[in-house]
C-alpha cells in the first residue's frame, strides 16, 4: 500500500495544534515513516503546494479573505479534510464576540492604518467548506491526533468522547468545583476528552474543547445564578471558545 499523502496547515490561530503534533516527540519519526507529509510550512521550506492530498489537517480559524481562499484551495486538493483544534472546529477565542463591529475594533487597535487590513470576523472551517472529521481541543490532545492517524491508516474513523467533562471528572473522584465550591466551572456543557485536566487540578473548566451536542446550558446558567454570578457574564464565559456554545 502506498503511503497516504498528508498536508498540515495553519490558518489564523496560535499554532498550538501543529505544535501538539510536533510534541509527539517519541512518535514523530515513526509517524513520518507511515505517512507522506507533502506540505507542512511550519516544519519545512520545501513543500508541494498543488499536489492532491489524501488527508489535509487544518488548524486555526478563518479571519482573513486570504485564509478563506487558502482553505478552499486545500479543500479542493484533499480527499479528506480534518478540522484540528477548537478554532477550526468552533471558531475559538477570536469568535467569542462576533456581534461586535469589526471595523471599529480594528480602528481602535491599529488606528486609520488598519482600514486597509484584510480582516473578517472569525469563522469555523465548516462555515466555509465541508469538513470530514473534527478533532477539538485547545490545543488538541496529541493522543487524539495519533488515534486519528492510526484509524485513517486502517481505513477507519476515530471515535472521541461524546459526554461532558463532568463524566471524566467524576471518574477521577474529584470534589465538584461547581456544586461544592461554587466556582464557575464549564464542565457540565463542555466536551470531554481531556480527562478533566483542569478540575482535577482544582481549576474550573473554561470550556476550551467546545460544547457537547446535548448540552443543557440553561441549567448551568441557573445553577451559577443561584451561586450569585451575573447571568450575562456567565453566558459570555460559555461563549469564550465557541460562539454558538450556549445562550
Amino acid at each position: 500500500m502506498s503511503k497516504p499523502t498528508v498536508g498540515i496547515f495553519g490558518l489564523t490561530g496560535c499554532a498550538g495544534d501543529q505544535l501538539a503534533i510536533l510534541n509527539c516527540e517519541d512518535r514523530l519519526l515513526d509517524l513520518v515513516a507511515l505517512i507522506d507529509v507533502r506540505d507542512f510550512l511550519m516544519a519545512s521550506s520545501e513543500n508541494q503546494t498543488d499536489c492532491a492530498l489524501d488527508v489535509a489537517l487544518v488548524e486555526g480559524a478563518v479571519l482573513t479573505s486570504r485564509d478563506a481562499e487558502r482553505l478552499r484551495a486545500i479543500r479542493q486538493r484533499s480527499k479528506m479534510l480534518v478540522a484540528l483544534g477548537t478554532c477550526a472546529v468552533w471558531g475559538g477565542v477570536a469568535a467569542m464576540d462576533r456581534g461586535s463591529d469589526r471595523g471599529q475594533l480594528i480602528e481602535e487597535v491599529y488606528g486609520d492604518v488598519g482600514h486597509g487590513y484584510d480582516s473578517t470576523h472569525a469563522q469555523a472551517l465548516r462555515e466555509i467548506v465541508r469538513v470530514d472529521l473534527n478533532i477539538t481541543g485547545c490545543p488538541i490532545e496529541k493522543e487524539h491526533f495519533l488515534a486519528a492517524i492510526a484509524a485513517l491508516l486502517n481505513g477507519d474513523v476515530p471515535a472521541y468522547p461524546e459526554y461532558p467533562v463532568c463524566t471524566e471528572c467524576r471518574m477521577r473522584e474529584n470534589n465538584c468545583l461547581l456544586i461544592e465550591h461554587g466556582l464557575p466551572c464549564c464542565g457540565p456543557v463542555t466536551s470531554a476528552g481531556c480527562d478533566a485536566r483542569c478540575p482535577d487540578l482544582r481549576v474550573p473548566c473554561v470550556g476550551c474543547r467546545g460544547p457537547i451536542a446535548d448540552a443543557n446550558p440553561t441549567a448551568l446558567l441557573e445553577a451559577l445564578e443561584q451561586k450569585g454570578f451575573d447571568r450575562r457574564q456567565i453566558a459570555a464565559r460559555l461563549r469564550t471558545f465557541a460562539p454558538e456554545g450556549v445562550a
Partner: protein, 429 residues
Amino acid sequence: MSMIVIEHLARVEGHGGITVELEGDKVTNVKFDVFEGSRLLEPLIRGKRYDEVAPILSRICAICSAAHTLTSLKATENAFGIRVSPQTELLRELLFRGESIESHALHLFLLAAPDYLNYPSAIALAADKPAAVLLGLRLKKLGNLVQETIGGRAIHPVNAVVGGFGKVPSLDQLIELRGGLMQAAADSDAAIDLMASLPAADFCHSETLYAALRSPSVDSYYLGDEVMVVSNGNRAIIPAADYQSLTNEKSVPHSHAKHSAFRGNPFMVGSLARLTVNPRRLTGKLAVAMKRLKLTLPADNPMDNNKAQALELINDLQRALEIIEQLLRDGIKDERSMPVQPRAGTGTAITEAPRGLLIHSYRYDADGCIVSADVITPTALNAASMELHFRRAVEQCAEKEEAVLARRLQMIARAYDPCISCSVHLVRR
C-alpha cells in the same frame, strides 16, 4: 527596480513574508510583511473577569503560552496588590525554564539547524543525521515534561492561576523531573557540540541595540523591574511602568504587527539581548561553551542569536535543576493559591519570554473585570530590527544574486525565532 520576495516564510510560527526592493545595487525598501489574521483579543477581553484573562490571552501563542500566562497573572496580581509565596515564585520560574527549553530545542534543532546544513526540514535532516534530530526531540520533550508537571499541560498551561497554583506538584513528581534533568547532562553537552559544528553564518553585520530585563539576581532572569537598553557601550534604564517609552509602537500599512523603536532606533530582544544585558551568569560551563561557539558580546551579527539560544538552553537545564533541588531542600508545601480581592487599578508586568521581552498591562474595574488591556510581544518588538538586518544583509552581499539573498534573509528571519501569531496582537492606542 528589482525585487526579492519571500512570500510565505517557512519553518516559523505563523504567517509572514519578506519583500526587498532594489534600484540597481541600492536597497530602496525592506518589508517584513505580517499577514497573520488579527484576532483582536485585547478588545475582546474587555469586561472579562480576572480569572478568564490569562486563559484567553495565553491563546495569543502556543509556543509562548506559558510566558503569556505567567506575565498575565503577574500583571493581574500587580493590579490587585497580591504577593505570591516564594514557593510559587520558584515554581513559576521553573515553568518559564521548561518553556524555554522546549522552545529553544524546537527552534535550534528542528527549525534552524536544517538551514545551516542545507536541508529543507528536520524530517529530511533526520534521514541523514538522525542523531541531531533525536537530540532536539529529547530536549524538547524534557522541556514539555517540566511544563506538564508544573503547568498541567505542555501548551496553554492550566495549573497556574491568579495567586498561585491550582495544585502544586507532588514530591514524587519533582523527584521524577529531577531525574530527567540530571540525565540530560550528556544531551546538554551534545547540544553545544552540534551547534559548534555548524558552518559559520557570517553575512550580516550591524551595530545593534539590545533590550532585555536587567535581572536583580545572577541566578534568574525572568523577573526584574527594569529594562536595560545596551548599544555600543551606552546604557539606558527604563522602569517597567514606563514601558511605552521603550516601545513607542506605531502601526504600519504592510504588517499586522506594530513596529517599535527606542529614540528612533530599532532594537533587538531575545536570547542575545538577555546575555548582553546580563553577562554575570556566563561563567564556568557556560563560559567554556561560549568560547566553543565563538560568541563574543556585544555581538554585531543577528545570527548569533542561535548561539545565544544554545547557551540559554544549557543554562535553563542547569537552572531548572537548581530550582528543583531548592524546592526539595525546602520541602514542597501543598499551598493553595492566595485569596483574590479585586480592586480598581492598573497592573503591568514585563517578563522574558523565550523570544524576548513580553509586556502585559491591564486596567481593571472595582469588580475585577478588564477595562482595557495592552499586550506587547517580542516578535512585534523585533519587527523593525529584523527589517534593519534584512537591509544590511542585502547591502553587504556583493553579488546580489537572488537565490543567495533569499536564503540569507530567511536564515536571519529564523534566527530571530519569530512567533508571528504573537506579533499580531492588539494594542489600544
